[in-house]
């Protein structure tokens, strides 16, 4: 019965959240973190950071983090319910809006609305990054890895997987 309750919570929470995911999945990371770690205690801060890293290292859209959160909360059914709840409402909305959207391609209101949404989504993305970094940076060295990776990713075009491998090696050797 408890599993069933968890599934309901996942479905309702993520379906609502998805409609507020302005600019993508990162916008709702702080809210998912609150629900998963602080409210429902599905996982620890540490596990949240680990799951996020797994989602990043795996191929696919970064919304895939919801699959992992759902899985951690309630196994395979949880993963399916969470992913469906996160994608379902927005997909239906997108499907219908995209059919009429072309008409307003150059409409003044559309340009203004978009101009208003962009800075909000950038701020939310930053908030998501901040929450992730707080969860992941458990030591000064971890913090340095975050800064170093950010710098390398910003100035070069190295494949991120190499950075994951290097950081994983540092961790394995016990430096982090």
């Amino acid at each position: 019965m408890k599993e069933f309750d968890t599934l309901i919570v996942l479905a309702v929470q993520f379906a609502i959240l998805s409609l507020f995911a302005i600019g993508g999945a990162m916008a709702v990371v702080p809210e998912m973190h609150r629900q998963a770690v602080d409210v429902a205690h599905w996982m620890t801060e540490r596990q949240f950071a680990d799951l996020f890293a797994i989602g990043q290292a795996a191929p696919g859209p970064n919304i895939i983090i919801v699959t992992l959160i759902g899985f951690k909360a309630a196994g395979i059914p949880g993963a399916l319910v969470a992913t469906l709840a996160m994608c379902g409402p927005t997909c239906v909305l997108t499907y219908y809006v995209s059919r009429t959207f072309d008409k307003y391609k150059d409409a003044q209101w559309r340009i203004v609305v978009q101009a208003g949404l962009v800075p909000v989504s950038v701020g939310l993305f930053g908030a998501g990054a901040f929450v992730i970094a707080r969860a992941a940076d458990v030591s000064a060295v971890a913090f340095a890895i975050t800064l170093g990776t950010a710098a390398i990713a910003y100035w070069t075009r190295f494949n991120p997987l190499w950075m994951f491998a290097a950081a994983g090696l540092l961790g394995y050797l016990g430096y982090v």
């Binding site: 995911a21 799951l51 191929p59 859209p61 997909c91 391609k105 208003g116 993305f125 975050t146 991120p160």
Partner: protein, 163 residues
């Protein structure tokens, strides 16, 4: 329609849809991407829906969505199960600590890249972004309430700045 689960990364999807299969022209693709960004939800997921819908209606949208989500879902579920099982092992814990820090760094780099074009021009945009960041990231206020207040304010500011 054979949609062989396009890996998910945006440039890859663009190359497959526009350049290789010629399912859409570059303009159509950009337009589809604009809609995907405009509406809530993951951009790539929305893009798959728009793209699938253009080609084959609701069924096309559903197939494109499945093609996008199923392969990565199966992969992360396997990884998630491995994590459940072996996540407690000390060596793996240490590795993951490093990888998690690097994953956070990648996201930070994306934020800086996104924020950069806003700072150059003199407009309310950077302040709006900072306010959204502080409200959700630092104050941890609930996202829906923050958006109910900030989205209208930001749109009003954008309208005012354009005049």
């Amino acid at each position: 329609m054979a949609l062989h689960g396009f890996g998910g990364v945006l440039p890859w999807a663009r190359r497959a849809i526009v350049e290789e299969k010629r399912w859409m022209t570059a303009e159509e693709f950009n337009e589809a991407f604009a809609v995907s960004q405009f509406l809530p939800g993951a951009n790539v997921v929305n893009l798959a829906v728009v793209f699938g819908g253009r080609l084959h209606g609701p069924a096309g949208a559903a197939v494109a969505l499945l093609g996008l989500m199923l392969p990565p879902m199966s992969i992360v579920l396997v990884l998630g199960a491995l994590y459940e099982r072996y996540g407690g092992i000390d060596a793996l814990q240490r590795i993951l600590t490093g990888v998690a820090a690097a994953a956070a760094g990648l996201i930070v780099a994306i934020v800086i890249k996104m924020a950069k074009p806003m700072v150059r021009e003199l407009s309310p945009a950077p302040f709006v972004a900072l306010a959204a960041f502080a409200a959700v990231g630092i104050m941890r206020w609930p996202l829906p309430w923050v958006l109910v207040v900030m989205v209208p304010v930001s749109i009003a500011l954008a309208w005012w700045a354009r005049r």
